[in-house]
């Protein structure tokens, strides 16, 4: 199992490096260079050359990358933005926790609901619960999160004022307000993945329930609850994989949801960076996204290997 994990981790690391390098090269090769942005269009060539030299931008790209990488790995420092001069660690450090909380809460709630709904749907096949769950799933998959957000804001924050229409109330102001303020964003964020995971759980469980070893389990006279666990140990494997992928994707969609709800999260940092043409920050933020995504996938793989040890000895 260790070897499998190491191999996966190794590949993930390689992906990270590759992505970071591609982005690094991209952000530093466009004609819209930091020098031009900071010094303006009237800058002379001499001024530009000086700027580049001061910031180490005139060295070969591989060297620049090496320096950046070294600083990141050994000092956990994303460096300084060329255009704003601010420490990117701080900028990201201020906004990441907000997004992280949003995504984590949405993820946790989605997973729990979809497991329950998907299992009930499979076990009570063709019952009203099953039909209801499938209907919700189709809707959840097809209705874009940000439109759902707009509609819900209109319906519950404007017409009825049950929820605040935007922003996140900090915990220091009371946990009730905080929860109310993240309720709508988390719901909109999680709806799609809840639908996906519900469908996945249902179909996977249905597949497993028809297999021979479930017949043996019933023939042994096991309690129905234990029979269900016997099934889930196998059926949850693809669900866990997709859940891992979903966590990373949710981070991406949080970008949009945050914009609708005016939340000061990572997306805000990213979009501000894009507007300010602060490409170093853009790269840094994307790196953070990639890191989250890769970690989530690794955790999912680890969980799967524990759930179903046969996968531990199978090749990646």
């Amino acid at each position: 199992m260790l070897s499998l994990f190491l191999r996966r981790a190794g590949f993930s690391l390689l992906s990270l490096l590759l992505v970071s390098f591609v982005l690094f090269v991209l952000t530093r090769s466009i004609p819209d260079s930091p020098a031009h942005i900071v010094l303006g269009d009237e800058a002379t060539d001499a001024q530009i050359a000086q700027f580049d030299h001061d910031h180490g931008l005139d060295r070969p790209i591989l060297v620049q990358y090496g320096v950046w990488l070294q600083r990141l790995v050994f000092h956990a420092d994303l460096g300084q933005s060329f255009t704003t001069g601010l420490q990117m660690n701080t900028q990201i450090g201020q906004t990441l926790p907000v997004t992280l909380e949003l995504v984590t809460v949405a993820f946790a709630v989605s997973v729990v609901i979809s497991l329950v709904l998907g299992t009930a749907s499979a076990v009570l096949r063709d019952s009203p619960i099953d039909y209801g769950a499938r209907l919700i799933a189709v809707l959840g998959v097809s209705i874009p999160g940000f439109w759902l957000a707009l509609v819900l804001i209109l319906a519950f924050a404007v017409d009825r004022e049950w929820f605040p229409p935007g922003g996140v109330s900090p915990l220091s102001d009371g946990w009730q307000d905080h929860l109310l303020s993240i309720a709508l964003p988390c719901f909109c964020l999680g709806a799609f993945y809840m639908a996906v995971l519900t469908r996945m759980t249902r179909s996977s469980l249905l597949d497993v329930l028809g297999l021979d070893y479930m017949r043996t389990a019933r023939a042994s006279g096991l309690h129905p609850a234990r029979v269900l666990i016997y099934a889930l140990r196998n059926a949850l494997v693809p669900v866990v994989t997709i859940a891992g992928v979903s966590f990373g994707h949710m981070f991406g969609w949080a970008l949009i949801i945050e914009q609708v709800f005016n939340i000061n999260g990572l997306s805000h940092a990213l979009l501000v960076a894009i507007q300010a043409r602060d490409y170093a920050l853009v790269q840094a933020v994307v790196m953070v996204f990639t890191l989250v995504f890769v970690c989530a996938n690794l955790c999912a793989d680890l969980l799967n290997a524990t759930l179903n040890p046969r996968l531990a000895s199978a090749p990646a």
Binding site: L211, D212, Y213, R215, T216, A217, R218, A219, S220, G221, L222, H223, P224, R226, Y230, R233, N234, L307, N308, P309, R310
Partner: protein, 323 residues
């Protein structure tokens, strides 16, 4: 033999396949008896309905199949009248089953010892330690070396023969009165087959378990069974003591079947077969279903239901030799 009730009694069992309003009988009136401690064989081709009959005893018919009529009496209890929780208590504890393909029949995500452990703890009030010890005892009983280590193994890490032993251990773990073995050796190599058969025979003697042994292999039936029933197209066409049925078969199907078994002293030349094919699953049948392929068929066989003839415990369903 006592004249008390047999352990298992099946009367006029009909099993139908279908959905909503359209049901078609595929098992069409099966009678069967199993006495306590005896081994009864159920022989037939694929599609004859023997597995369905077995599954119906456990009330584990697949979706789309149901018992349309008949009675199943086990140890004096009407199985078909039981509520599901009560039936579930019987499963594993009083009636157990082992299946054909041990690889797909064992949960791939759970160690085999744990699967036996869970079954034991469901039916017996043993502590965890006691149950664990019992698991190892059982694995030893079925002839698995190093039971402690093997208990932690997963199904895919074991050989076919070992898996079948594990399944047997799982099935007998709570001392059932009846063990249904549905083609337990069909998926195994011939050499392993013999070992598993020996193990089954030994276990059932030691534990005094009655066995319903299902197979299409007449040799295995002859080896282990006391009595045998022969099924064709959803009906029992002959039944009786193994010696009687195999030495003096009364039904043409049995006769022709026995003739098909290759023998070392049978000389060379074209091997005998039964011409034609069994009727397609779910077709409506009138008269004797075997008539089209029967070498002693008479005119009336195709149209009229053949009578049941009994003589000294030897039953056959045929027109042959009748007035």
């Amino acid at each position: 033999m006592t004249s008390s009730e047999p352990l298992l009694r099946i009367d006029g069992l009909h099993i139908a396949f279908g959905a909503r309003d359209r049901w078609r009988d595929v098992v069409r009136g099966v009678d069967l008896r199993v006495e306590a401690g005896e081994v009864v064989g159920l022989v037939g081709e694929s599609g004859s309905g023997k597995s369905l009959t077995a599954l119906s005893i456990m009330r584990l018919l697949p979706p789309g199949a149901r018992v349309s009529s008949g009675r199943l009496i086990f140890d004096g209890v009407d199985l078909l009248a039981l509520r599901e929780p009560a039936m579930n208590t019987l499963r594993g504890r009083d009636i157990a089953m082992i299946f054909q393909d041990p690889l797909t029949a064992l949960n791939p995500a759970i160690p085999v010892g744990r699967q036996i452990f869970d079954s034991i703890r469901t039916h017996q009030p043993l502590s965890r330690k006691a149950a664990q010890a019992r698991v190892e005892e059982l694995l030893d009983l079925v002839g698995i070396a190093h039971p402690k280590e093997r208990a932690r193994a997963y199904a895919h890490e074991l050989s076919g023969g070992m898996r079948q032993r594990v399944m047997t251990a799982l099935a007998v773990s709570s001392h059932p009165k009846l063990l249904i073995a549905d083609e337990p050796t069909t998926a195994l190599d011939v050499t392993v087959q013999a070992q598993v058969m020996d193990m089954l025979d030994r276990i059932r003697r030691e534990l005094g378990i009655a066995v319903l042994f299902i197979s299409h292999n007449l040799d295995l039936i002859a080896q282990i069974c006391d009595r045998v029933s022969v099924m064709y197209a959803g009906r029992v066409v002959e039944s009786g003591a193994v010696e009687a049925v195999f030495d003096e078969p009364e039904h043409p199907y049995t006769r022709q079947l026995l003739r098909c078994i290759p023998r070392l002293d049978g000389g060379t030349g074209k091997m005998p077969t039964i011409p034609g094919l069994p009727p397609r699953f779910g077709t409506v049948l009138t008269g004797c279903a075997f008539a089209p392929r029967c070498e002693s068929a008479q005119e009336r066989c195709a149209g009229k239901e053949p009578p049941i003839r009994r003589a000294f415990g030897h039953v056959s369903v045929c027109w042959e030799g009748m007035a």
